[in-house]
Symmetry: C3
Subunit: 333 residues, 3 copies
């Protein structure tokens, strides 16, 4: 670590470099934001050690190995300094069959059903519903209004944000002469360890067996995961993605927002899918795909260019037709 | 029913054929899964009576008229064997004007407003909110955290999953010189009988009159139904569909996930709409449409093929131009 | 105001003109609905003063300056006549540090954390969660199940519909060799005055600084607003829109449903974006754009027409190739 500028300056908050105010610390990691460093009012800026200033900089610079990792560590320190909730508040509904762990927060109006098993160091915010036989691992945080239907399993170190619904019925109906008949959904949902689920996301229980979100997967807000889907380890899905039933998705994938994935297909490991893409068929590992229906991102880009040229192309073809007519006429003269 | 193999084998659970374990019963209905029957470890497999094995099968087969219907019946039996909740838990808020029916479950922290009318055999899970004057039919299940605004009507045999919001304000604002002014939404939502609504789905109340979901319609998670929409009988909508205001949708339609439908249009009966399609205009009955903007599925498929060929087509046109230039030159020699 | 027809007719409800029943008042503002005026059973129809009947009309007409504004005013009168909730219900959780304002409704099972500041004339429906240090302005309504995480700020005259989540963590993770590491999200969300937020919408807190929804913006149901986004004044977003992180959107924009907006971009003022469009890059002010990727609406329309013609165009090109071959052959004879 190297300090460039006044080493005795102090700060009491963290800010974005483009919004920096005196008394705050900012960081510069994304080169697109480099120009802000010459105008920022932040008192301190964390930069990568290879940063070379091209103009004068008011702020004190702290050069570190990895500015992004350093700011992340600082943010975590700030977060950890927030007062922690602990204990059981009044007005909770906890079935007498449930053992309360030594370390816990259980907020008012939360509801814990019979035979639920709770790990250590759990935080259950107000208005959480936990159904019968649910198992919850250690260091789990359930934010306000999370609902977990019966029989589901939440691994260690999972975080589920407000309003998410884990284990609602899969969408299964059999057509009959008098209308649709519901297929009972007797499976469950399993979140493995280190999974984070966004606000108001819905993950349906399996018809039979389990819908599974594997270790380290991160799922953003308002995502729909249908029954019997499997999401691989460390796969990341942005908001409003939808995955239809029984599809298996590999590990280390990245999904942009609003992607839709058909049912009963397989997506390999390390697949990147651009925002709003539609995936109708199997996808091999290590692809970078985009579009509706999705295809290799390079092909999509070329076709997008061509589509814009279509009116011109149409005119070119009309011109060619005329030229050919002219040629024919001339040839027949 | 015919049994092929060891008739005395016993099972204690149901599994998918591809995940079958000893002691479980599986089924085979979708021909795509046929190959699993030769390797499954399930002890029993339900198959259609016309199934003919092409290789050796370890499992005992039970041949039935319709394997899918049989497994559905079995799943329902399993579901029905789960313990049923009954009675009124402590810590509920029920207005004194409300009559409690003879058969019911009303979970802790649920809230029932003045003049609500409740049918028989209702299950109201924890954290449910029911607004003033709401009417709820017989055999209705409201899962945790369902919110029903005032004046809405829920028919018999309806199921509403966790977090769904029925009767929120339609999105109506009039532009004025000082910004948008809210248009009061004084209508309601009517769910007819046998309707199922998915988790975190939102169905807005009508500006005036009613937003109506007709008998037997099934709506998946995270769907948005705007004010004054009508959804026909036995229409099925997959997750994340959005329908804009005042649109009327026929009966027996099937919508794939993430479909978007414009406002003030009409969609006929028996229309199938592929996932992620955008529907800007009226759609006649008995169509099978797809795309953005949607068109007959066959046309969409042909155009999708053509779009992939566009770069080649562009090259072909360039070649034609050169050939014509060559011809012209030759002709002028 | 001018009355045409029986001036002594009375009504006791408001209806849409196409559903009009005797004893109700309807309005005609959208010319598309004009034909209904000749068949409606409504007893009174509000029309613009320049309306000229082309056939006989049963209903009494009231001619006004602006039929739409008049009906809006009437709807607001009806809405205001509904009984208002007031006072604090039993079974609330209010931290002792919180001052309750003079005018308020606080519903059962709502939860108010330490150091929350509440404005006058607030309505907090059941099952609302308000986190530590949240500030809420005057005349705010929070419908059932709204969740507001710590440190967020809600302006005056805001309305937040059921199930919306304000201030959940932004979706930020740093890749490491052992999987993703969470980036703490220490910022907040600010809703300025006159903002309305739809049911089950999610607005994430900033990583640092604030996610900001400016004065008068109206956001529909199931919308996702990511961390550090800014939405300009009087901008309107239809349901299921998603905006990725750090994007800045101008004022007076209109977004159709299901639009997706990339992160770290800027959209100018007065931009209209058609439903389901995808916005990958910056957009200048005063545009009308559409498509995936979005482009000027006129270009999109022309290209959509061309895409439909692609199979024909392909045939034309094949014909041209044949003609050229024929010409070449003839020329070489």
């Amino acid at each position: 670590m190297e300090i460039v500028g006044n080493p005795s300056v102090t700060v009491n908050n963290i800010s974005k470099i483009e919004e920096g105010a005196p008394g705050t610390l900012s960081f510069l990691a994304n080169p697109k934001y480099t120009h802000h460093i010459y105008t920022t009012n932040s008192s301190i800026v964390l930069v990568n050690k290879d940063f070379v200033a091209e103009n004068e900089i008011k702020a004190t610079l702290i050069k570190v190995e990895n500015a992004y990792a350093s700011i992340a560590a600082l943010l975590n320190l700030v977060e950890q300094a927030r007062p922690k909730r602990a204990g059981i508040e009044k007005n909770v509904h906890i079935d007498e069959s449930v053992n309360i762990p030594d370390t816990h927060y259980i907020g008012a109006f939360s509801y814990i059903s019979p035979n639920v098993i709770l790990g250590n160091n759990i935080s259950i915010y107000p208005h959480v519903y936990i159904g019968d036989n649910v198992r919850i691992g250690d260091n789990v945080t359930l934010y306000p209004g999370v609902k977990i239907y019966h029989d589901c399993v939440i691994g260690n170190n999972c975080t589920i944000h407000a309003g998410a619904v884990i284990g609602g019925d899969g969408f299964g109906f059999a057509p009959t002469e008098t209308g649709y008949q519901k297929i009972a959904q007797i499976g469950n949902v399993i979140l493995e360890d280190q999974v984070e689920i966004g606000a108001n996301t819905t993950i349906d229980r399996a018809t039979m067996g389990s819908t599974i979100i594997r270790k380290g997967a991160k799922i953003d807000n308002l995502v729909q995961i249908a029954h019997n889907v499997e999401i691989g380890s460390n796969t990341v899905m942005a908001a409003q993605v939808g995955v239809a039933g029984s599809t298996k998705i590999g590990s280390q994938c990245m999904f942009g927002g609003q992607v839709g994935v058909a049912g009963h297909i397989t997506i390999g490991n390390n697949v990147n899918i651009g925002a709003q893409s539609g995936i109708p068929n199997h996808v091999e590992a290590n692809q970078n795909i985009l579009g509706y229906p999705a295809q290799p991102a390079r092909d999509f880009a070329r076709q997008a260019v061509m589509i814009k040229k279509l009116p011109d192309l149409n005119q070119t073809i009309k011109n060619l037709e005329k030229e050919i007519q002219a040629l024919k006429k001339k040839l027949n003269e």
